[in-house]
């Protein structure tokens, strides 16, 4: 057995176990951390496929940012798992259907040889191939309009999220820092000149 195969099966096993843990863990924080572990192993499998940019982006974006915010929320909520599981049997048929669909799609991809996908030769990769460079070049030349469009959609999402949660509170004690810096002594204190008092007056 090639060493790569061993690494793949190791990563895949841990990933499947971690994914199972995500849906079986009673504590939502443990579930979220199991999801982080699954992401790590997915990144490892992508590295095996020479997709180093995707792998590192997965860790940077999902593990480093999305899951951190997710954990923030999950940690601060008091989630009752039993209440969440109440509708389990009602949702089972729908969930099972989606699961079957996923299995079907995966088997088409993995068993591609039976559906004529095997006739497409895998691209030969030169030794000094830089995945990041190729991806960057494609994104900013051939696919620049879809790419910019996607970024505008994201920007709209950010603006919408900010606007939805923005409450102009009246009771906030916010002070603009430049106003604070500009404060002069005379704005805050007044020196009163008083004649000295003498004893006996």
């Amino acid at each position: 057995m090639e060493f790569k195969t061993f690494v793949f099966y190791m990563l895949a096993t841990i990933m499947v176990l971690a994914a199972l843990r995500v849906i079986t863990a009673r504590n939502p924080v443990h579930a979220a951390l199991a999801l982080v572990l699954a992401f790590f192993n997915a990144a490892g499998i992508w590295l095996l496929l020479h997709a180093e940019f995707l792998a590192i982006a997965l860790i940077m974006v999902y593990v480093g940012a999305v899951m951190v915010l997710f954990l923030f929320v999950v940690m601060m909520l008091d989630i009752n798992v039993d209440r969440l599981r109440q509708g389990f049997w009602n949702y089972l048929p729908l969930g099972g259907l989606i699961g079957l669909l996923l299995v079907g799609e995966m088997s088409i991809v993995l068993g591609g040889g039976y559906f004529g996908l095997g006739s497409i030769a895998p691209p030969d990769i030169p030794a000094d191939h830089s995945n990041t460079k190729t991806l960057g070049r494609l994104l900013f030349t051939d696919y620049v309009y879809p790419f910019e469009l996607a970024s505008i959609v994201l920007l709209v999402g950010i603006v919408a999220a900010v606007m939805l949660t923005l409450r102009r509170r009246k009771d906030t004690k916010f002070m603009h820092p430049s106003d604070q810096v500009k404060v002069q002594r005379n704005d805050r204190i007044r020196i009163v000149s008083m004649p000295a008092e003498k004893e006996g007056d």
Partner: protein, 363 residues
């Protein structure tokens, strides 16, 4: 270097006449063993530096305060780190009641590990690097972005309100400043045209001033001065050091996420903080101060320049701590999001325009 190491082992074991027998079964494991040897050669000095950095911190700050600092254990107090380490090792690790025990143990490990694995891509000299990968900068960004898990996990697993508030503060701060650091790095990538750290250092050795023998002025810090400052200050905030150390604001929340930890578990957080400082200093030296390059033409490039630059940035860290009072929390957030981030966005456009103009100095 690999051949020299092999020759050394061959010479050693040939003394006992065991070399041929040993090599016959050890050969498949040699690449693994050689990588392990290299890892130890990189991490041993890092860990030694991590042990002595708190000592230097106490000494430097003491002299800035006109005090003497640690001077009881050994000559000039030089054995102080060893005494501290022994003390912490023999203390009991107390796990709070109802704490999530596995995560409680995992927290400090997740804090220290990213600070150590990042050294895999740091180049010490031309070709002297453990993993010379093309996506080195991305790797560094990814690794530094998982450092925040140590804080969050330990804060939550401690089952303590102070620890949790500290973790929330720290995580929000680290996530905010990571963005400015990444943005500052984008400008560096633009001018050096590579994601490989060795190539980034090599790119700084070229230019008009480097041709005149003053390489010092060709390094990225001068043409990208605003980004250098943003990166350095964000680095201080990212490591939760003074003046951005609200995480462990002693007067408000005792010691932040590490308040429930004792003994060696606490020591790991302590080590992680200093390991992160050294790592950030190394990254500043590589991205903006020319890595192993010599500042003047008549002196050779060597790894000692890198060490000198790292030490200088570390001294800045200590100097900041002795100089500035702690920032207010809302002002920390304001600095990161409203000052540094827009500045980075603008500077990306400015440098892009500069590179397209005839005045481009990075050809």
């Amino acid at each position: 270097m690999e051949a020299a190491a092999l020759q050394f082992f061959q010479g050693f074991w040939s003394l006992f006449g065991l070399w041929d027998w040993l090599w016959s079964w050890f050969k498949p494991f040699w690449p693994l063993a050689w990588t392990l040897i290299k890892i130890v050669c990189i991490l041993a000095p890092v860990v030694a530096a991590v042990a002595y950095l708190p000592y230097f911190e106490r000494k430097v700050i003491a002299y800035m305060h006109v005090r003497i600092g640690p001077n009881r254990v050994g000559p000039f107090g030089l054995l102080q780190p060893i005494a501290d380490a022994l003390k912490l090792m023999f203390k009991e690790i107390i796990v709070p009641t109802k704490a999530s025990k596995a995560l409680f143990i995992l927290g400090p490990i997740m804090g220290l590990a990213p600070a150590l694995i990042a050294w895999a891509v740091i180049p010490f000299d031309a070709g002297l690097v453990l993993a010379n990968i093309d996506a080195g900068v991305l790797y560094l960004l990814a690794v530094s972005s998982i450092g925040v898990y140590g804080v969050i996990i330990s804060g939550w697993a401690s089952n303590s309100k102070y620890a949790f508030i500290g973790a929330m503060r720290s995580a929000a701060q680290m996530v905010s400043y990571e963005i400015s650091m990444g943005m500052a790095l984008i400008v560096v990538l633009m001018v050096s045209n590579s994601l490989n750290l060795s190539a980034i250092v090599a790119a700084q050795g070229k230019g008009t001033f480097a041709g005149m023998g003053v390489g010092l002025l060709s390094w990225n810090w001068l043409p990208l001065l605003p980004m250098f400052l943003v990166y350095l200050i964000s680095g201080v905030a990212e490591t939760n050091r003074a003046p951005f150390d609200v995480v462990e604001g002693e007067s408000e929340i005792v010691a932040g996420h590490m308040v429930e930890y004792s003994g060696m578990a606490f020591a790991l957080f302590f080590l992680a903080e200093y390991a992160n400082m050294i790592l950030i200093s190394a990254m500043v030296s590589i991205f903006f101060l020319g890595g192993w390059l010599s500042p003047v033409g008549f002196l050779p490039d060597s790894v000692w320049w890198l060490i000198a630059k790292i030490s200088f940035i570390l001294f800045l860290f200590l100097w900041f701590r002795a100089t500035f009072p702690r920032y207010r929390y809302d002002q920390i957030m304001r600095l990161g999001w409203k000052v540094f981030l827009p500045l980075c966005f603008i500077w990306i456009v400015v440098v892009g325009a500069w590179m397209m103009s005839p005045l481009n100095i990075w050809k």
